[in-house]
Symmetry: C2
Amino acid sequence: MPTKTSNMQIIKPANNKHTIRCQDCRIKQLCLPVMLAESEVAHLDTIVHRGRPINKGQHLIQAGDSFNGVYAIRSGSIKAYTISVDGLEQITGFYLPGEIIGFDAISSGFYPGFAKALETSAVCEIPFERLESLAAEIPGLQRQIFRTMSDEIVKDQDLMLQLNKKSAEQRFGSFLVNLSFRFGRRGLSSQRFRLPMARSDISNYLGLAVETISRLIAQLQDDGLVSIQKREVEILDMNKLSVLAGTSCHQ
Amino acid sequence: MPTKTSNMQIIKPANNKHTIRCQDCRIKQLCLPVMLAESEVAHLDTIVHRGRPINKGQHLIQAGDSFNGVYAIRSGSIKAYTISVDGLEQITGFYLPGEIIGFDAISSGFYPGFAKALETSAVCEIPFERLESLAAEIPGLQRQIFRTMSDEIVKDQDLMLQLNKKSAEQRFGSFLVNLSFRFGRRGLSSQRFRLPMARSDISNYLGLAVETISRLIAQLQDDGLVSIQKREVEILDMNKLSVLAGTSCHQ
DNA sequence: CGTGGTTTTGAACAATCTCAAGAGTTGTGG
DNA sequence: CCACAACTCTTGAGATTGTTCAAAACCACG
């Protein structure tokens, strides 16, 4: 199968160009190395595979692939989605630099969903068996894996609440506030940022129609809370937006 | 504070009556001991606290309590829920024997939500720091914790899909099929079982109105798929119900 | 400078909610 | 053991949010 594009082939063996050590990684505070001693980070670094960047639209993970590891996003952005038996696509999350995708595959040994690059992105593949062994040796690493998975659970439960109990306006407001928080955490502006995803991805994620997102954007602009030109977002009144969203900064 | 009912006080020191060792536990195949050698189970057993059963309506976990451990359900059933800033309750899951609650507290160090007994229930408290240490020594245990947390993520993502993309009928159908599966897995009948929760809990969990649940029950009975008398469920046509639900057995 | 995808806007429609009221159930105290 | 109070559940009818369908404007990219 020369044209097969499984994740194992996308992630090419590391070469100099794409090899940035964990120790030197800009976003190590957001990733597994947080809380580790320098020597421990170096140890972790030895098991990480880095490949060439994956292009927009390319799949990092295909549903049904057997689980070999988790992927830390180094740059770019990834959307994770599942497809139900009746063919409906459901986006389960957007992953930004420092965030890790693939923990949902541990239980069954197969990735339950897809992961696709929203733009050119660099990811670090972390083989899970080796990560497990290392976690048994480095308590801080084990702890950080538990934390990251726990974060994922909290994020999903918060989204559940959004979908169940909040209006379209509140959902979209929360979405913007949450993105703003995650950009700010990386040292980027939390006032101005670029949406990496299409309107249809936002609507899918939030359980709304694309048209509803368009209308909400128009409305929030009329109210002077935000300014959104294409994918460029400027948050004009974070307080009002947070109140409207009914959240602090998580969603 | 003599009337305070924090989780630490609910779980009384073990006594003979409530001390069932992990090795002898009926549901060890569904719980952390699965995959462990006998001696490893014995080791795990030494860190588990078992208390007297908690009564219906009593809280096992209060939101904001500091994280000390996870709880394995031994008997009964527990509902987990969060309360949003504007006071809305959102049930995030129902936990049955063999299932473990509390992993969402690892990331922040505080339980983000509440856990309340739907009926008299017995739980095993597993202090997390000790569990971490033990997990570092017993690879199978570490693996099983990862699996359990991964399961939780998958469960939440599936529910997300339900809430976003499925009709009220499909959601309720999936809910029944999923419960059926979980009862069957415990060796109980998957055809006939008793709902541990009220209609309002089901509606809250599924993002519907109570009235909608009532109407759906009436409808599914008219169609001859199920028979539901009060909380006693009998599934009359599992095939049709599964097709309607659009799932195999997970939700 | 077309072609295909994305975004916006309008208008009618539908699924589910809300409100309201009644029936059934459970628990409690006299 | 009965009666009252408090829930829980069911059923009906109208209201509403967000959807669907349709079409035009905009953009990106070859």
